[in-house]
Subunit: 302 residues, 6 copies
């Protein structure tokens, strides 16, 4: 094993990577995906008690469980937000934009605001459950939706991440949506604005970009991309960040499987976009786009 | 933290969500995805010993390991089926369709029947392993298939879920297939009927619907959807459940990547469906559908 | 439970499956996916300290953490390689191609060589991080790329697996890439050769085949397949293994979402392949392939 | 390993030990020391919050923690009492004295009664803490007593066990006191009756027998035995169970280290028993027993 | 934290302690108390199923549990014996007395012999349980003895350690008896020879020396020492090891609490030794030693 | 379970116990015995590598393990000292004697000083190991002493606790010695001053008081008490704290089993105190105290 000493020396040399890696205050913790996963699990047990977390709680004890979970969420959120605040964008990419005290105070405030948003999140997630149940003939019971439909997990994380993003918390929201991406194959950016009664069927491969705006009562199928068509570069040839570049999907729209909708276009209210389509222009309300029948396919029967 | 008290009160108010959430007998446990994952792991270690579970068992001790695992599977299955039986469909969505005693007795019976199906499952899964190995030039060893091919995990869970579904167990089968969906990106409904020597290459994004019937020796590639084209609504505008609405894929069919086959159509025996196709009509046996060459593509070389 | 005894007997009868299952030396451990996952986590904490593993290490202690992690990686790698060496291809599929001593000695050597490759892996992974950051307008910070972009996890595992494959280690590399496939929905075969500054956006559904050769500075989007078009069968009707059958992607190529590139064709340097395309012929350098506009789509507005 | 098969067969033959071992209903769980240890830990966190269990609870969340812990205690107590009820003494030593339903109903009732005794236990344990603090010049802070004095742990378990014993629960109380015996070296039988303001200094080696009666404000030192002098045998030569045979220690008594007090004698109120004594007769109130000075000890100085 | 670097350097300098610490072959594992504790727990679950280990096993599955546990015991024992063999006494205190191959072969043999002794151990432990139950009026049920009497745990470990000692295994037996010492306060050297029907009441503080010989049907109480009176020194002033120096206790002897019996003396068959005595001479069979009544104790009543 | 609500209310009422329980700043963590146990385990692995902690470290990696362990010890020590500082004695028993910042700064300093004492602790512990080995004819190997002799564990914890006590850390030292007390039955107060080459044989029941002063090369046997004879009370009848009240044991003294030495007396250099004695007066150097032979004991042979 002695031969590995020089390997360890090379790996311990961090200087050449300073420009790439984060310049964290020494000893300050970095954000932790496992802790955020734990926080998400706790939030799920608060919003959907019985389906997540403790499976056999008697209703007369529910309040106590929720109280304990809320405290734990608040503690993890505070720690993680504090860790995340080092990643505030600035010129230097140094973590000295805020003093330790400011970061702690800010983290406590934002964590509390986050927790206070949970009742509202429960309200809107209930509409997502309802929409998913009503839209799927294979669903036998609303409990099936909550227990195992990936759409609920993905949208759950995104709605939480969206609240944190709006509170000005860096990095953490993206980690949260990527946790759901890994779990479900559904990749929704925290920045996307999504109305109530939202559902995604099956879901694997769905991509929803940062500046998407999605109305109420929208339903997507697996493999749908709501993406950017292109993005302008700055003088250095790097993409300019923050420009609206993803679609607006108005209320009551359905997009079938594997269709791709690109660019800052608008899919008008009540439209239906068929499967496997490539859409780069706006369509007016009430449009139905269907795939042109590739009738005389080169098929052959023997 | 005192400010969070009213948040906890709001979150503890369960009444407004009664219509959505499950009305479980107080204190009765709900089904548990982590326990079901544990059960699946045990079943995998029974069916594929050495590849899953204890990695270094001497063959003269194999019988003891299987005995202990069978007992554990039986115990978890009993508990989970009992918890799941509360979700039997009925008018009221109340968990009073069966007495506690009836549920326990039923659960014990169904769990035993499930365990008794394991030898048969091993037999058919061996054909899936064989088909996957024979169909993939990248596979160096049959152990590679069992160890890491997602198709085996997804089909494993689906075949188990299908047995449980046929035993009349609610909810549990769906949780089991969603565990595999999360693990592999392959979403097969427990209701799908699948023949022997079935394989899926790569697999991410595959969707196989509830009423699909798949023959023997069928092979799918990644991104294939066997879905419903549309579904009739009832008087209230909700989808009518349980109607056959997914394709029938006969023996010896191959479907290449990202093709979508929709509706209660039949893909005749021995047919080959090329990639990226959108198929909504039946094709006779022996058909080869290929993508029309989009010859003069708007390409440009500089 | 007595009724289950005969089930246990049937399940303990391993003889009928001998031809399928691996004939491991009794008591010798099989490769273990959980141990390999642990090894990958350790490698991630070595390459990207703070982002993975211990979140709050003071830089003056970094060297110690790396030393301990390197020892652990070396130990796990030795055990797993030793277990994997039983799967060396041979006629008999028996694990007697090497004596226990030879296997142990070989495993120690290969594990050390693997560990010694980590500094070089860090170097090339830094280019992947850089390319991903520069290519995504939604990325706010390079730390976001390392923390949560699936491309980094998938490419990380593939680059490690590729080193092990080149060291002649069987089976283990495939388990490692499938761990990433499960985590990210990105399926890259260990055999693929990939240049520096490689990135995949979103990534779910990407498939990169065994004999692909990918140049520097290549970018893929979600759902892209770099696959085989067909493969020749041997006299027994089984696919012949090891023949080059996947695309060559030259430097500076971009492939947009859900396009499929099949066969041993070459996508020339600097080309751009639009989304949703099906490409089975080589294109010269500098080509831009775009989807023919399906102008008069059967759309209808009401 | 094949040679071990006959060993396993021998060990699986349970028949020859039937008369010794418990004849439990098949599949019914036995009492579990680890679960009871968990229950004790929960009770400690309820009675002494912060010192045991969650170390950083904000007081505004205390109620929720206690609620959750009470539910958990109630659940474990119910299960363990139910398991213990099989050990009710009867002629046959068979576990058929109660039906499963009776046992479950009884267990629920007794568990609730046990939980309802916790506030009273807290009250009396507070007097024990106070007495210990006041009696030890080495104690700097009352928190030191609660955190680490073995007397508190031993008396805690005994008081809980005593409640359960009085509720007619078999076996469980003894397991609970033996947990404390193992932890502290203090062995107090659940049957002993102990007044308030009780303390034991150091404690290792203390033994307090089943039928002891101890008044208020009693203090013992390490190595003190309050035991039986002898016990009458029945016709078969076995000890007759349940006869009062241990000392009565009245209020305000101190017993110094390593003294042994045997038999159903009374140590009168306010007495002081010196160290290393062997006492087998009652002493009147206010007695001070001291060790006779063994003046001309065979000592020698060189 | 930088100031700690020199502390780490000092602590990493192992040379000055070479003469004291063990000169283990680099990378060879040392014996592990936690693994031995696990092995003991497994043995307890084999000998006393239900009371230890899995609490709810159905009797028709018992054989499988025992088979699995036996394999695990065998594996841990092999590893630990192999690690322990480095501690064979020799001149140099170097671990080169046996080659790695010899150690492995020896370890496998001894582990199997150890496992094969388990049925005989069960037989004799059953007599200990019986004796303990018959001798204690506070015991309500034989299950109480097995579940929680410290004597059973201490004697269990000693009997196992004694078997291993007789197999010539170094170090491991002492670790095993010290595990019980820590658990129960009863310190029995692995070398002590102990007959059947042995019991210790309460037990804290009991010490039984290396060369003790204890007959059948012997009962000890807490605090009893069976020790050495003195031991001859060698030319260097160090005690000569291995000389018989502890008492012989013949059949049917009782020793009451806190008595000390020292030296190679014999307590004749059927004798009773009262409490708190200091015995350094042999006594003939049938002797009853009682404490001289210290009648006119310096007591005073007020 | 509804009946338990009022129990929870009673248990949540903390006001009546305020005078007894600690008035901790809300949300500030209390000291944690499990974390301190972890710290002790780490220190043991640093001082005695291989015997504790990682069992199979290659010597060329030792430095890295020690570095990582030192960092962990430093972190836990900082947190625990910070928590403990709330227990500084003052009039009010309120935790406001130090500001949070002062406590943090103080904790960091003291933790570093503690860690810097580890090399010196290793030096003196090596003498304890040596003395124990030389003094016990049953010890076969020095590794046996380190692995399993309780004296090493008890003295280890006490020497660590003593350092922390001298650094002015409240409460934590007592928790640390009580951890060893529970583990070994040896109760040594952190305040005791103990020279080098100290050993305790067997050890159960040993008590060493707060103000003891023990010279070099002292050996004790099981059950020895070095205690206080009495202690003066203050005007309120409470013991006055901090007065020297325990024995001074000079160099080269042996005290045999179960003897009790009480009060601020001096046992002169080189003395031998026999077993079972009760000593309350000083003895000059070189004294041998032996138990007077209770010759004509009331013994009877039949």
């Amino acid at each position: 094993m002695d031969r590995l000493t020089s390997t360890i020396d090379q790996l311990s040399a961090i200087a050449p990577y300073r420009h790439l890696f984060h310049c964290h205050s020494d000893g300050e913790p970095m954000p932790s995906a496992p802790k955020l996963r734990e926080m998400i699990e706790l939030c799920r047990s608060i919003i959907f008690p019985g389906y997540y977390g403790e499976v056999a709680t008697h209703s007369s004890f529910l309040r106590y469980h929720i109280g304990v979970s809320v405290e734990q969420v608040c503690r993890i959120a505070t720690d993680q937000i504090q860790a995340g605040l080092c990643f505030l964008e600035d010129e230097t990419h140094e973590c000295d934009n805020l003093s330790a005290e400011e970061r702690e105070k800010t983290a406590v405030e934002k964590a509390e605001q986050f927790v206070q948003s949970l009742p509202r999140l429960r309200e809107i997630l209930a509409t997502d459950v309802e929409a998913t149940y009503n839209g799927d003939p294979a669903a036998k019971h609303v409990g099936e939706i909550i227990s195992c439909y990936p759409t609920i997990r993905a949208v759950f994380n995104q709605r939480i991440a969206h609240v944190l993003l709006n509170l000005g918390v860096p990095l953490i929201p993206r980690i949260i949506t990527e946790l759901a991406h890994s779990e479900t194959g559904i990749d929704i950016h925290p920045g996307a604005q999504i109305g109530h009664h939202f559902s995604i069927d099956h879901g694997t491969g769905v991509v929803i970009g940062e500046t998407c705006i999605i109305g109420n009562n929208v339903k997507l199928y697996q493999g749908v991309t709501l993406g950017a068509k292109s993005f302008p570069l700055d003088a250095d040839g790097n993409p300019i960040k923050g420009i609206p570049r993803h679609p607006i999907i108005e209320d009551d729209v359905i997009v079938y499987s594997n269709s791709t909708i690109l660019g800052r276009i608008t899919i008008g209210r009540g439209s239906t976009i068929g499967g496997n389509l490539w859409v780069t222009h706006s369509v007016p309300p009430g449009t139905t786009l269907v795939q042109r029948l590739s009738e005389p396919l080169a098929s052959q029967s023997d």
